[in-house]
Each structure stands twice: as C-alpha cells, then as structure tokens.
Subunit: 452 residues, 2 copies
C-alpha cells in the first residue's frame, strides 16, 4: 500500500532522518530525502529543523529538486539559501519552476542580486518574469502567473482542440479563458465542456460568463475572499481596460488564506507569521524583545496609575489584592471582542456598513456580562472581606471596565484600520493598556472617594 | 465593465440593501438580492446582518437559489433556517446541490428530521448520501463526495473520450482517477493529458502515479496539510483496502483551512469559530460568560496568593504597584510561546520528533529576554523608588517568571494534546494562571524574605 498517505508518515520519516544524523549516517539521511520525500515534503522537513541541520539536509536534496523545494519553503528560509547561491546557481536551480513562483523569489532578493539573475535568463522568460515583477507582491497581479492558454470566442470547439494539442499546457488546468480579438476577457470554458460539446459549436455561444475577472490591483486578501466565497479553482486577472493579463490559481490563494488567518493570530501575540520557527535564537530574541518592551511600558503606565493611590492601598490592603481582578476581567472581555472584530473584518463580515449593528450588539453583551460578573465578584468580596461597601465599589468598577473594554474592542480595529495601522498587532497592546488603566482608575478612584 | 470584481462591490450592495430596508422599500432590496448577487454573495450578506434582517432577506432570495445560498451559510445560521423548513421544503430546496454539501447539512440536523428528509429523496440519491453520512464529519470521508468519474487503466484514450461524452461531469474537473477491475486506486489522468495524448494510448501507460490516495479515516486537518503542502486541487479517497470511494476537492479543503486557522485564534480568546457574529445577544452573552467566569476564577486564585502577603504589602506599598508588572511580563512571554507552538502544531512543523529542539530554543530565547528585561525593570525601579534591594528582588522575579512562562508555553500544548484537550482553548487560561501565581509568589515571596 505504498499508494497511501499515512497519518504520521512525515513525522516518522523525520524521526528516521534525525536518528540517521545522530549516528552520523549521512547516506541514510540522503536516501530518505532523495527517495522517500516529495519536494514539498522535503521543504516541510527542512522547515521543521534548526539552522545547522537544515543546511546539512539542504545539501542532500537532489539538484533537480532544489528549485521546487525552494518554492515550498517559507520566505525567511528561502532568503537564507538564496544568499548563499550565486546568480548562475539560482538560474540553474529555478529553471523548472512556475514563473510566478520565480517572481516571488526574486521579489525578496536585494534588487542588485535579482537583476543579475534576470540578466542570465533566456530573454523570453526574462520578459515574462519582469512583467510579473511590475506588480506589488500583495495584489492580484503579484499572485498571478502570465503563462496562460487563452482562446478566442469566435472559433469552434474543433479549432480549439486542434490548437490545444500543440500547446504546452499547465498542470491541473480546469478552465480556459475566452478573449476577443483585442484580448478583452469575455468568459470561461471548462475543459469538461470542451470534451462534451459538438465539434462545430462556437465558443462564445457555449462559454460561461459567471466567473468575473479580478482586477490586477485588487489586494490579495480580497482575492482570497472571492475564491473562498465563490469556490473558485482559478480566476482570470485583467488590467484596468479589462484586457486579460494573467491567471490566479487556488494553490497560491491557499497560501494567502493560511497566511492571513495566521497573521492575525500571530500578530495578536506580537509575532510575525512569516518568521521561521527555527530562526537563530538571537534573532528570535530580538523580535520578541520589542513586544515585551512595549508591554513593559504599558504595564508601567498602569503601575504609575496605581501608585497615585498608594495612600489608599496602605490603608486598605485588600485594594491591592483586588485591583488585578478588575483589570483582568476588562482585559478578557476586551480581547474577546477584539478577536471577534479582527476575524470578522478578515472574512469581510464586518464593515462600515454594519458597524452600528455590531456596536449595539456588543454593548448589549457587555452590559449583560458586566452586570452578571459584577454581582458574582461583589458576592465573593463580601464573603472574603465581609465589607458591603468594598463589594459595591468593585462591582461598579467591574461593570464600567467591562463596558469600556468592549466598546474599545469594537471601535479600536476600525480606528486603527482607518489610520492604516494593523489592528491585530497594536490592538491588543492598546486595549490592555486601556483596561489596566481604567480598571485601576475606576476601582481605586471609587474606593478612595467612598471607602476612606 | 460589468465583468469586473469591484473592490467594495459587496459592501456597497449591502449598504444599498440596508438603505432600502430602512425606507421600507422591500422591492428594491429584493431586486438587489435576486439580480445583483450570486448565491455565495447573498449568503455573505445574510451572515453580515442581525437575525431579524436576516430572516427578512432570506424570504427575498429566489427559490431556486435557496439551496446554494444555504450551503454557503455557516452552520449556526443553516440550522436556524432548516429548523423552520418542513422536510418537503428541504428536499425541494436542496435538489441541485452537491451530495457532499447535502450530507453536511443533514449531519447537523436532529436524527429524526434528517431521516424524514432522506425518506423523501429519490432512492439512488438517498443511497449515495447515506453512504457519505457513514463517515464522521471531520475525516476525509466526511469531506469527500462520492459522485465521481473513474476510468479503467486498461482502456485507450479514445475509449475514455467516448465514455466521457455520455457522462454528467462535475464542474471544475481537472483530473480523472484511474482504477483497476476491482476499483483499486491506481493513479490519475489530467484532462489536459487526455486532450493531448494519441487516441490509441493506453491509460495505465500514461497515467500519473504521483498523487497518493488519502485514507477515508484521516483527520480533516491532516487532509488540509496535504492539500496545502502538495498544492492539490483534488485528491482520491480510498478505504482501508485501497478501493476508491470518493473525491475531495479544494473548495471544501479551503473551508477546513480557514476554520482550523480561525479556530486557534478564536479559541485563544475563548470563542467558537463557527459561531454567528450576529447570534442573539443572550446566546452570545452565555457563551462568553463561561469564559469570563473561568478567567475570574483564575484571577481570584492569583488574588488569594497575593493576599497571603498582605502584611508585606502593608509595609511596602510599592510591592502592590509592581506585582502586576511581574505577572504581566510572564503572561506576555508565555502567550508568545504558546501561540507559536499552537501554530506550529497546526501546520505540522512542531511534533514530538523535534520537541527537544524547540524546548532548547525557547529556553534560550527566554533566558536572553528574561535577563534583558529584568535589568531594564530593575533600572526603572531604582529610578522610581531609589531602592537597590527592591530592584534586585523584582529582577529575580521577572527572570524566573519569564522562564517558567516560556517553559509552560512550550510543554503545555503537548501535555494538553496528549490528554485530548484543545490547547488553544485551555492553554491560555492555564498559562495565565501559572504566570500570575508564580509572578506574585516569586516577587512577593522574595520581597518578604529579603526586604522585611
């Protein structure tokens, strides 16, 4: 049953490679990499190893597979390997890969280096790749390939079949794009349709016009939304004049979907979704140090607020014990709303059009939960400290802080997005600062006024 | 340029629908829904509206489109609409949709109701759908459709072309599966290959054997990893005897990828990725109340720890002000590691095979960042309170807490996963509790021993 995808097939192979390396049995490791692993699988295993091992294994990859392995590696690692290769080696290695993948690779290299690579390429291919490099990486133009097979609408099925027999066709093609004389996009023709229609049928009469073209300037996140929503496998890309210039396939969109979903989760923790799990320790430390530093600053802002009330705390020590509870309830409620908003904005379900509905809803949820947990916490406080007045103060503070947290969680992503700041990255820091500061301020402020 | 996907096309249409409804102009809204929106777009807009509006708009959807709109709605909303339909209406509505989508819909209905629907279906279709219902929803079997076109390996291209002409073919077909006499999976044949090979070629001689079959019991997350890694558009599904039983297409896998990525982000905030952004306020409040309650409990655990040191705090109030800083630095460092681990486990880059590398790496990062921020915070403390002894105590506490946080963040997801507990959901609560408790304990404990 060599035909079967085994559940932990890759994990097992990785373990075997590690064992081989540990016993310095390089030829065993080489055998596994060269014979048992497909290029995407090899890339996956390279990504799951620390630097040193990774370089060793890269040397064991078959030369003819290196190009494909390279396209499947994440950007950080690609760059490391490219830096160590000469322009000639890069041209040699990337000969067989799709030109959109090659454009992606070149886009990350220093301009000078990518220039040298382009100079060494055959002129027809160079001009195709240069055409792609003109588009920003995060747009439909940056995602597309310009190696396509287009057909004219005014010809017959028979003519198309004859034409296709001579062409080099891309793998996993499911539809052909139909254009007019001047390359304007008109519609699509499924290969299945091509197989089943009478030879004399005219393309424009049987083509499907339901797949709309995507303009090359559209942001890749929007492209992903369209593919997801309409269950597309490929889509035509046009310029501002509706002239067909490329084709986007689902495999590239899947990467965008994964990255954009990961992006939000990773940014909420101050991490970069493209970063390498096994980057050098010092590099990772630097990246994470920034985030810890920012959060330290906000923690000290909150501490400074608290220190204004040192006199109150000295009199009622319970205030010190209960303050973090108030801050943390706000933090949790706020981060729930923030996560919901960031996800809704990513999927396109939340926009300016329905913002007022969202605000009303979230405030409803905040008031209900604020009231509920204010009462519970008040009860606990009475049971613990036996002071009704302290219980009332903490209840009021919890209610106010949860409402402020939820309102900020709802509005912050919109405000940040209008200011072109990534809400996932900065939203959580700003939100925590707000909930800490307002938590301490309301609780300690009310306590100072009413309890002392 | 009606052919073009506009950037904010849908937002604009949604705004126009809202305006129409606000001025009670139902027929305008109906026109937009029936003429300007494709079924997936209509589903998207329904998902972006509150309950009441949603029901109103659902009534305006063309009857022949309702089935397709239904398949594009999220599960919560599907269920609401299905509850209000009779079995006859459901059969009528879902006539045109793929049988794997229909199986998904039936899987969510109460057994009795889905039974009634199945009874009313034509017997051939019923047995196909029942075949699918036998598989758990989250496996390859649950993702696949069993409506396929398979070809035999021992026939010629010409025979296949003749055979296909008479068949009803699924849309967006790119490859055919090749089987032997007894339906064992053998390989694949791209439609492009079919178009370009000589009529007399034998299928088994030109077929591609690089696409491995997926076993029907494989978990959907693993299926998604394979599709992502190998850039697949469709894949064959086999049973334990390698007999071909179905076909998985990328459109269903894209939903799995989106859901699994969203799942982790949403669970880290205690939310459910399938839940409806516009669920009734009371229902949402309940869901989120549970999470707030759990976090409140952990906040009080931390508060209880702190209260053991009330005597120390009463003497040095600065301890109250600085405690939250210690806890929060641990929380941030821990949540970074936890997020990294959860993402790495989701993409398959982190497994038992390389756990020891990960632990070493993360501890390295923890020690470097712990030492760095311990020094910075010690500096700030000296500047603020002018006490070197206090500064030393907080520095030690920060270093210890960051190390504990990172070690827990690395190991927790593995321990939880072995115990079959979702690390994204419970990991963050457990982690925060640990960093709060250990933060307070080390800081206040050291302070009590050395400063009083």
């Amino acid at each position: 049953m060599a035909n079967l995808q085994e559940q932990n097939h890759l994990d097992t192979l990785q373990e075997r490679i590690i064992l081989a390396l540990e016993s310095s049995n390089i030829s065993d490791a080489a055998n596994i990499i060269q014979q048992d692993l497909s290029p995407p699988e090899a890339a996956h295993i390279l990504e799951s190893c620390p630097q040193k091992v990774r370089h060793l294994l890269w040397g064991l990859v078959n030369e003819e597979d290196q190009g494909e392995v390279l396209t499947h590696l994440n950007e950080d690692i690609q760059q490391q390997f490219l830096e160590e290769m000469s322009a000639e080696e890069i041209v040699e290695t990337t000969q067989e890969i799709d030109n959109d993948d090659l454009a992606d690779i070149l886009q990350q290299m220093p301009t000078e280096a990518s220039h040298r690579v382009l100079q060494l390429m055959p002129s027809e291919e160079r001009s195709q790749v240069e055409g792609l490099l003109a588009f920003p990486e995060d747009t439909a133009g940056g995602l597309m390939t310009n190696r396509m097979v287009n057909i004219r609408g005014d010809v017959t099925i028979e003519a198309v079949l004859r034409y296709l027999r001579k062409k080099k066709l891309p793998k996993s093609l499911d539809v052909l794009w139909v254009v007019d004389r001047t390359q304007h996009y008109q519609g699509s023709l499924a290969l299945t349709e091509l197989l089943q229609s009478p030879p004399e049928a005219i393309i424009s009469e049987i083509m499907d016009t339901s797949i709309k073209a995507i303009e090359c300037t559209l942001h890749e996140d929007k492209v992903a939304q369209i593919f997801e929503r309409d269950d597309l496998v490929s889509a035509p890309v046009v310029d501002a004049d509706n002239i067909l210039i490329g084709r986007i396939t689902i495999d590239d969109v899947v990467d965008v979907i994964r990255d954009s979903a990961d992006h939000n989760m990773m940014r909420l923790a101050g991490l970069d979704e493209e970063s390498d799990t096994f980057a050098p320790i010092l590099k990772s430390s630097q990246q994470r140090a920034v985030w810890l530093g920012i959060n330290m600053a906000t923690a000290f802002v909150a501490a400074a607020v608290m220190s204004r009330f040192e006199a109150s705390i000295a009199q009622i020590v319970a205030l010190a014990v209960l303050s973090p509870v108030v801050a943390s309830m706000g933090g949790i409620a706020g981060s729930q709303t923030l996560t919901l908003m960031i996800r809704g904005m990513a999927t396109g379900h939340i926009s300016r059009a329905n913002l007022s509905w969202i605000v009303l809803r979230e405030m409803g949820v905040a008031v209900i939960n604020g009231a509920l947990w204010a009462s519970v916490i008040a009860g606990i406080t009475v049971a613990w400290y036996g002071q009704w007045s302290l219980a009332l103060v903490i209840a009021a503070a919890i209610l106010v802080n949860i409402c402020i947290a939820v309102l900020s969680g709802t509005l912050l992503p919109f405000i940040l997005k209008s200011a072109r700041i990534d809400p996932a990255l900065s939203g959580s820091v700003i939100l925590t600062t707000l909930t800490d500061v307002f938590g301490f301020l309301t609780f300690l402020g009310l306590a100072t006024v009413y309890l002392l």
